[in-house]
Symmetry: C2
C-alpha cells in the first residue's frame, strides 16, 4: 500500500507541473474519495488547491470530508465564497459538524455564512450536545414517514427527499409532533404490496437512545442488535436524529484506541501516531510518567526502612525486580480483563462479588504454580548449578511464599480498582497496567519483608 | 439493565410453571431476538426447550443465532428433525457456519442432514476457508445482477430473491461467469429512472478483497471507506461472497479484545469474562506469567553480580523499583502507541525510521523532565525533609542520569520490538507491556550499576 501511494503522489505532482489537467481528472475520478484524501494529504500544500479544483463537485465534497483538518483549513482559506458554498452544500450535516468542530473561529464563521439556513440550523442543533453524547454523533438527515402512508406513497416520498439523507434504508415512522412510533426498512417495503399501510407492516418495538446517552453505550447497542441505524430521541420520545452504523464503527475504533492509550498511561490526543508532533506526544505522555514516578516514593521508603536487614541478607535484593514484575503482570492481567469486560458491557458493577471470587481462585492457582516452579528453579539453577551459597531452602521459601501472596493481592487489587473507579464515575481504563504496577510494587515489597522477618527472624 | 433482566427471567419462569403460554408468547414477541437470547441464557436449562417452542418461526431462528453455544447445543439435542429443519431453514448461511463451528461432530452431522442441499453446499464452501480469513466471515447470500438489466428488471429480481439475502442494499453486478464488474446501491436505483440500464449507472471501480485476505484488514477497509458491504472474490475476480458491515463490526470488537488480552499477557479464549471457567482463565494466564517470571532471572543475576557494591551503598537499592517502574511505563507507552497504530494501519513497517526518530526525541524530553523533577525531589524531600543522610547530590546525579538513559532505551526498545515482531511475522501485540517491562528491568539495572560504578567509583 505505502509503496503504491508514493508512486501515485509523485505522478500526480508531475502531471500537475506539466498542466496535464485532463489526464489528472481522468485518474482522480477512477479513485475512491478516501484514497484521494490519503493521497492529497501527502502532496505539497501549495499544489493542493489546484488539484482539489479538478474534482467533480460531489467527489470534491466526499474527499474534503476525509482529509486531515490542517489540509481542510488550508483549502477553505483558499476557497472563494462560491467554492466554499459548493462544498458545504454537498456535505452531510454530521460531517459538516465534524469539520466545524476542528476549525478556528473565523473559518467556522465563513462556513456557517455559506451554509443555507436549514443546514446552519441543523449544524447548530448538533453542536449544542456534549462531546461523546449520542446527540453529538447523530445526523439530522433521516427519512421520516407517517403511519397512514401506503408503501407506494412512502417510496414516492423517499424518491423526492432521499437524495439528501444519510441513509434511506431504515426509515422512521413518526406522528405529526415527531413522536417516534415505528420503523420500517426499505427491504420490508420492497417485499410488501404497494397498497400496504405502514402502520400495519412497520416494526413497533423501536429501540432508541436519548440525545444525552454516552456514545460508547450507543456503540455497544449496535454491536448487540446488529442495527444499521439507531434513532435518537429527546426526553419526550420525539425523533431528533439517527446514528448510522458507519459512524458507530468509527466511534468504536476511536473508543478502543482511547482505551489502549489510557491503559498505557497516555492522554488521548485524537491524532494518528505519525501526525502528532513530538511536543504533542511528549505532553500526552509525561504527566503520567511523572505521577507514577513520584508515587514510587513509597517503594523507596519501604526499602529504606528495611535497609539494615537487607545489608545482612543482600541476596534478598536480587529478587525484588522479579517479585515486583510478577506482581505487576498478574495485576495487569486482571485489570485488563475487567476493564475490557466493563467497556463491552459483559460485566456490570452488580457482578463485583462474582468477579472478585473468580479472580481470587485464579490467583491462588497461578500463585501456587509460579511458586512451585520458582522453588525448583531456585534450588536447582541458582543453588546447585550456579552455586550461589546464599540460596538455601529457607530463603527459597521466603521468596515463594511472597510470590503466592503477591499474586493473590495483585489480582484482587487488579480487579477491584477498575470497578471502584467505575462506581465513583471515573473511567476504569486509567486503573490499568502502570497504575496497578505501582501499587502492586509497594504491596509486594511489604509482603516480601514481612515474610523475611517472620521466617528468617531478621 | 442487570436488575431489569433478573425480574424478567423470574417472571418468565413463573408464567411457564403456571402454563400461561399465551401470555408468555405475548411478552416474547414484543422483544428483540438479542434480548430474548440474553434472557434465555439465564433461564434454567430444563425450561429452555419449552420456552423456545413458543417463539414464532422467524423470531426463533433469530434468537437461536444470538444464544450461547452451550444453550444452542442443548436445544438442538432436544429438537425433533422437523424442528431442527425449521430453524436451519431460517438461518443465514454465515450464522449457520458460526453455529456449525461451535458444535460437536454428531450435532454438526444432524444439522447438515436437515439443511437443504444448496444451504449444505454453501456451509461447506465457507467452512473450507481458514479462520480469520475474509472467506470465513463472508456470506454467500448476496444479490447479483447483470449489467444489461434495467432498473425495473433489477427490482423485480430483488423482490423475487431478496428475502433470503443477508443484505439487498448493495447489489453486485456480475457477468455470466460470475466475474465482478460493478456494484450498485438500492439508493441509486430508487433515485434513477426505471428504464436506466445498470451498466450505465453502476459504480465500476469496485473495491473488493480476496477470500484469503486477513479479516483484520477487511475490517480496516470498512473503517476507511465507510462501506455497508464488501465483495469477496477469488483469484480470478469471480464473486464468491460478501462481508456485511454488522459482521465486520463484530470482528472489529473481537480483534480489539484479543489485542487487549495479548497486550496484558493473556492468551485469548474467545469467551465473555463471566462465562470462562476458573480453569480456563487460569490456563490462559499462567503461561505468560511463568515465562516472564523465569526471564526475570537476568535481573537477579545482575543484582547478584553487584552485591558487594550494593552492601556498601544500600541506599541505591531503594530506587530500584522506581527506576524499573519508570522504565517499564515509558516502554509501555511507546509499544502501545506503535502496536495500536500498526493494527489500525496508521503506521507501516516502511515508517520505522520515522517512528524510532520520533520516539527518541520524545524520550529525551520525557527523560530530562523526569530527571529534573526527581533531582529536586531527592534533595528536597528525601535529603532535606526526611533527613536521609545517604542522599547527596552525587547519589542523586547517579539516579537521575540513570532515569534519562533508561527512558531513552525503554522507548527505543518499546517502539522497535513490535515492528520487529511484525516484520518476522509475529503479532506485534505480544510485544506489549509485560514483555517490554521484563526487558527494560534488565536494561535499567545495567545502566544503574554502570552509572554508579562510573560516578561513585564503586
Amino acid at each position: 500500500m505505502a509503496e503504491h501511494a508514493v508512486t501515485l503522489e509523485s505522478t500526480l505532482s508531475t502531471l500537475l507541473e506539466e498542466r496535464k489537467y485532463a489526464t489528472l481528472r481522468d485518474i482522480l475520478v477512477t479513485m475512491n474519495a478516501s484514497d484521494i484524501a490519503t493521497t492529497f494529504d501527502e502532496i505539497p500544500h501549495d499544489q493542493l488547491p489546484r488539484l482539489f479544483r479538478l474534482l467533480p463537485k460531489e467527489l470534491a465534497a466526499e474527499t474534503f470530508v476525509e482529509m486531515e483538518p490542517e489540509a481542510q483549513e488550508l483549502l477553505i482559506r483558499g476557497f472563494s465564497d462560491n467554492e466554499l458554498k459548493e462544498v458545504v452544500d454537498e456535505l452531510y450535516v454530521d460531517d459538516a459538524v465534524d469539520i466545524v468542530e476542528e476549525m478556528p473561529a473565523n473559518v467556522v464563521k465563513r462556513i456557517l455564512k455559506q451554509a443555507d439556513p436549514e443546514m446552519r440550523k441543523m449544524i447548530n442543533e448538533i453542536l449544542k450536545y456534549p462531546d461523546d453524547s449520542a446527540g453529538s454523533i447523530m445526523t439530522t438527515e433521516y427519512v421520516s414517514l407517517r403511519p397512514h402512508m401506503t408503501v407506494e406513497e412512502a417510496f414516492k416520498r423517499i424518491r423526492r427527499t432521499g437524495v439528501d439523507k444519510e441513509t434511506i434504508y431504515t426509515c422512521y415512522v413518526t406522528e405529526e409532533n415527531r413522536t417516534l412510533v415505528g420503523m420500517i426498512s426499505i427491504r420490508t417495503m420492497l417485499l410488501s404490496e404497494e397498497d400496504n399501510v405502514l402502520a400495519d407492516i412497520m416494526e413497533q418495538n423501536v429501540i432508541s437512545v436519548t440525545t444525552m446517552e454516552d456514545q460508547e453505550s450507543v456503540v455497544q447497542m449496535f454491536a448487540k442488535y446488529s442495527f444499521m441505524a439507531m434513532p435518537v430521541v429527546d426526553t419526550e420520545n420525539r425523533l431528533v436524529g439517527i446514528v448510522t452504523i458507519d459512524d458507530a464503527m468509527d466511534v468504536m475504533q476511536e473508543e478502543a484506541t482511547e482505551d489502549f492509550e489510557k491503559m498505557a498511561g497516555i492522554t488521548p490526543i485524537d491524532k494518528p501516531y505519525l501526525r502528532a508532533t513530538v511536543t504533542e506526544t511528549f505532553r500526552a505522555r509525561v504527566p503520567w510518567l511523572l505521577i507514577l514516578m513520584l508515587s514510587a516514593t513509597f517503594t523507596g521508603i519501604i526499602i529504606t526502612g528495611f535497609e539494615d536487614s537487607l545489608s545482612a541478607y543482600v541476596i534478598l535484593t536480587a529478587f525484588i525486580p522479579m517479585l515486583c514484575g510478577t506482581g505487576g503482570n498478574s495485576g495487569t492481567q486482571s485489570s485488563t480483563a475487567v476493564i475490557r469486560s466493563l467497556s463491552l458491557g459483559e460485566v456490570h458493577l452488580s457482578n463485583w462479588l462474582e468477579v472478585v471470587w473468580k479472580e481470587i481462585r485464579v490467583a491462588v492457582l497461578c500463585g501456587l504454580v509460579l511458586a512451585a516452579c520458582n522453588f525448583v528453579k531456585l534450588l536447582l539453577v541458582d543453588g546447585y548449578l550456579m552455586k550461589n551459597p546464599a540460596i538455601n531452602p529457607i530463603v527459597a521459601l521466603v521468596i515463594c511464599l511472597t510470590l503466592v501472596f503477591t499474586v493473590v493481592c495483585a489480582k484482587t487489587v487488579g480487579c477491584i480498582l477498575p470497578m471502584l473507579a467505575d462506581r465513583i464515575g471515573f473511567d476504569p481504563a486509567v486503573m490499568a497496567s502502570p497504575f496497578i504496577s505501582t501499587i502492586v510494587d509497594t504491596m509486594s515489597l511489604m509482603i516480601y519483608f514481612q515474610m523475611a522477618r517472620l521466617i528468617l527472624h531478621i
